[in-house]
């Protein structure tokens, strides 16, 4: 739509290579267990696997039957079992049970575990303790990076957030370093790395060591700059309700691995359908980054154009008709399908949000961000907690906003204590006792208000904000707030470092860095192009709204951003990862 686009933005590198690498390695690993075998796949590896290979690929390499790992006794009759899993204790325990059950039956099989993206000593130790080390061979499938779209690459490790930020376990730090290393060796060499956060620092170190260990090959860089950021530098942004189309779809329907399941409500039929959401979907591609309010106009215009295109047929003779059918019809049909889906989705989202008093929720969130009418906000929050018209995620969202320091400043004391205990009480019997712990982990001292002023995150409220012609990244939150994470990136790129941001970094607990590689000898022209491609790695997840904001920034500055994230997140996922409500 009506954005000022700088034409000179460089082309994005081709990430399909990453898929091919992963597929080839998987095939190699499967061949390490020759002969027919049944394959058990960890549930959350199925979708990523689907994106890079299909059943035919697996069958060609002697995979007989496919099963999902369900932590139940197995029914396979195959004499070779292969397990494709995440390095999780729970799953390895289950495999130990399977193998030991076979042993008890006197049944002989061969077993292979393929850990993705890497194995952990704790898992191997369990195999040893359970007496099956040696009966089971293990391998690593270094499937670190899954390209979800032209500019989004995911590690598909949602547990990264909880493991690192809540449990303090650094098991994925090297994984992040290795992912970076892979990108560096295929699309690098990088010339500049900026970052903020403890984990970013460690991931950078790990990557650097891996670069030193390996051999260097001189090649032309496609990606010049890297920005690493810890999720806990900015926990406010992912907790905000999303109003950009793609973010809203994710909040409501949950996009999983680039794919969404639209319920019958949306499809106006009796069954749900799964739809890939990426730049290949022409309709989606034009609305994904738009504020929801702009989407209707676009869709109705499209619908009118489509109507006109179809209407052309009425005056045609046979020959024209033939050309029409062979050349245009297919495209039109495709577009029609896409259009009716996104209209259906918009309609369904409107209905859901109207029911939820979304308007009021947004108003409250924005006031909180502005530090405005705090008392009213708290009363609103209380009422909604009381009414339980919101899902558990919202209830906790607010409690966390408070924990993050959004409410504390002006309202110390009683109200909040009351609220906290109330939240505690409400969720008490639904969630586990660890909730308190989770909260306190999140409750690091935040200087959000001061940061907001310093970085101009909250535009002045007396100015009008025209969402049709966004003037800054605040449009992704209706003009109310520029995401802190993206603002930092903008500032650092502009200043080519952290100079002048000392106060900001101090408020963010420091751990910022900016390093430049020694000269790589690549010629200047290439360098300028690759310099304008920036890889941003979110450690602990990022939201679609942030991706939209970066795309906006890229268009404004003639840059291209590639987002690498440990997983796509949103407020619900973030909070669910903090819950401990199962045994």
């Amino acid at each position: 739509m009506a954005h000022s686009v700088r034409r000179d933005a460089p082309e994005l590198p081709d990430f399909s290579l990453l898929k091919r690498l992963a597929r080839d390695q998987l095939i190699y690993l499967l061949e390490q267990l020759p002969g027919r075998k049944d394959l058990f796949i960890e549930a959350d590896l199925m979708s990523p696997l689907d994106r890079i290979a299909n059943v035919t690929t697996l069958k060609q390499h002697d995979v007989d039957k496919l099963y999902k790992v369900e932590h139940k006794p197995i029914v396979s009759t195959s004499d070779q079992l292969c397990f494709l899993i995440r390095p999780r204790i729970k799953t390895v325990k289950w495999i130990c049970d399977v193998v030991n059950a076979d042993k008890a039956f006197g049944r002989f099989r061969r077993y292979k575990i393929i850990f993705s993206p890497q194995k952990f000593y704790a898992c191997e130790n369990l195999l040893e303790e359970q007496g099956i080390f040696g009966d089971v061979t293990t391998d690593e499938w270094s499937f670190y990076l899954l390209p979800l779209d032209d500019d989004i690459i995911s590690l598909e490790l949602p547990e990264f957030f909880r493991d690192y930020f809540l449990e303090g376990d650094q098991r994925w730090v090297r994984t992040a370093g290795s992912a970076l290393h892979l990108l560096h060796s295929v699309y690098g060499p990088f010339s500049k790395v900026y970052g903020i956060g403890r984990c970013s620092k460690m991931a950078y170190e790990s990557w650097r060591e891996q670069v030193e260990e390996g051999e260097q090959r001189a090649r032309q860089a496609e990606i010049g700059n890297v920005f690493l950021i810890d999720r806990d530098v900015d926990l406010v942004t992912p907790l905000c309700s999303q109003v950009v189309y793609e973010g809203l779809v994710d909040d409501i329907f949950r996009i999983k691995c680039g794919c969404v399941e639209f319920c019958p409500d949306v499809t106006s039929s009796d069954k749900s359908i799964k739809v890939m959401l990426n730049s290949q979907d022409k309709v989606f591609n034009e609305i994904r980054n738009e504020h929801f309010s702009q989407v209707f106009g676009f869709l109705s215009q499209k619908a009118r154009n489509l109507q006109t295109a179809y209407d052309k047929r009425s005056g045609m003779d046979i020959k024209q008709m033939k050309t029409f059918v062979s050349e245009e019809l297919k495209g039109l049909k495709q577009e029609h399908r896409l259009l009716s889906l996104h209209i259906g989705a918009s309609e369904s989202m409107m209905k859901k949000k109207t029911k939820q008093d979304f308007q009021e929720l947004l108003k409250t969130e924005h006031s909180l961000l502005e530090g405005f009418e705090i008392r009213e906000c708290i009363s609103y929050i209380e009422e909604h907690i009381n009414r339980q018209s919101y899902g558990i995620e919202h209830l906790l969202t607010f409690s966390n906003l408070k924990q993050l320091g959004l409410l504390v400043e002006q309202q110390p004391g009683e109200t909040l204590t009351v609220m906290e205990s109330r939240v505690g009480k409400l969720v008490n019997d639904k969630t586990a006792g660890k909730l308190t712990d989770a909260f306190s982990s999140l409750a690091k001292k935040s200087n959000f208000r001061a940061l907001g002023r310093r970085l101009n995150l909250v535009p002045k409220s007396d100015e009008e904000y025209d969402l049709r012609v966004p003037r800054d990244m605040a449009y992704i939150f209706s003009g109310a707030y520029i995401p802190l994470s993206c603002k930092l990136i903008e500032q650092v790129l502009e200043r080519d470092g952290w100079t002048g941001l000392e106060e900001v970094t101090r408020m963010l607990n420091g751990h910022e860095f900016a390093v430049t590689a020694g000269s790589n000898g690549s010629d200047a022209r290439v360098k300028t192009d690759s310099q304008r491609i920036i890889l941003v790695m979110f450690l602990g997840g990022c939201t679609f709204s942030e991706i939209s904001a970066l795309r906006f920034l890229g268009r404004e500055k003639g840059l291209k951003f590639i987002v690498v994230t440990t997983a796509i997140t949103n407020s619900a996922r973030l909070l669910e990862s903090m819950l401990d409500n199962h045994a």
Partner: protein
Amino acid sequence: MMIRGKPDEDDYWNSSKFKAFTFDDEDDDFTRLKESKRAVNSIRSLVEEEDEEDDVEKVSWSGEPVGSISWSVKETESSIRSTGEVRDQSFPKIHTAPSLPKNSSGYSLSSLFKGKAKTGSFQSFSESFGDPSIRNYAPELRKPKSEYKDYVSDWTPEETVKRMQQGKVYSLEKFRSLQDKLLLLDEAVNAHDGNVITAVLIYLKKSLSKEILFRELITREIALRHYIHYLKEIGEQKLLVELFKSMDRTEDMALMQYRDHLNVRDENKKRDFLKNCLSFPFSPDDATHVQDHYTLLERQIIIEANDKQVESSGQADIFKKYPRKASILNMPIITTLYYSCFYHYGESDGTFSSPANIRKTFRISDKQFLLTCLGARAKLKAWFDVDALFTTKNWLGYTKKRSPIGFHRIVDILQKNNAPVQVLQDYVNLVEDVEQKISLAQKYKCHDVIINTYRDLKDRQQLIVYRGKVERGSSEYRKIEEILSNSQLRWKN
């Protein structure tokens, strides 16, 4: 999005910088969306008649095209189900005699592939597939000799950690003195690799007494957190409790033990478990929660037993009219209160199931109580009860309606429960802010409220405008006519 200046916008939208974007049903955008949908749908029939070779497209549409892995896994599942291969089996006990394979001759070709029916008999054959024991170690043997030093003990802690990170052969046995062990641990921590830190901790767990290990971990926060996480994951609850205890982290210990209630299914056992938890050293806040949790479950068990019986005996109308959808066991406190307001309204304060008793026991605030109760009574369309919730008498005996929550909220809640206009308008009238009152009245079509308000404001112009909006000849139309023709009124415009 344009400012439309509709009178029923929240004043927020008028006063703030955000252009009026609203999710309200009546909004123009929504209508526009509906129109687009109609247009697109009208094309549908036309498209479908030409849809013969569409299967190919359908495939590309789905996230799981035929032949995808997820699809295939589902196929396996359904085929298993249809052949009835799955019995609800748990893991077999070791002592049970193994059932023989269906084809039990032991000599058929297929049985060879299924594995050995009896121990030993086909050993050589199965091993001819490629000796698994050799295969296991083969990758190590292939490594160049240069990587081995004569004595593994030559590796420093730093080298060892590096080798572990790279997945190379390593040995921890030589780290025997406490000092060496701790050096190794610190080196792992310095390498920022959680995987290696845990690996070293596993070795220390095996080779140090827990007292010593715990003591050393106190000063090593990062290693400690890895250790706690590891113990959690492998389920070594007991050791974890000991660890917390030795570190005087009694609150963590209490929470850790409390968490175990999630593993208790049976409600009576869970109640007993929680009762037992009461004596744990929780922080004061947590202690209150746990006490409440226990009291709540105890009470739910009593209510559940009673109501189940009453419901099945068909004694009470309320259960016949509104059968219970689920048991009340393990529901949150607000749900329990709602349930109580729904099924046990008007019971005397003394009964466990009465709303008043629950309110008192769990110290539920006025607001919270009102909102929950209002929801329940409105659902039952008990408008009289709703009315009574707000009615207070002063010392002179006059009644007045009061609410701890703004009446505009009350109106919203009532409207969501399909309250009739007669009920709604009473509460719309109680909204103090005039603009808000009119906007709500317009939203919910409470004509009387609007007309009376304009009359009271002496706003003739608005009244004339409103006359144009109501149906000609209707009772509200006549009412407006009547007021406008009243010569007694002094209009301000």
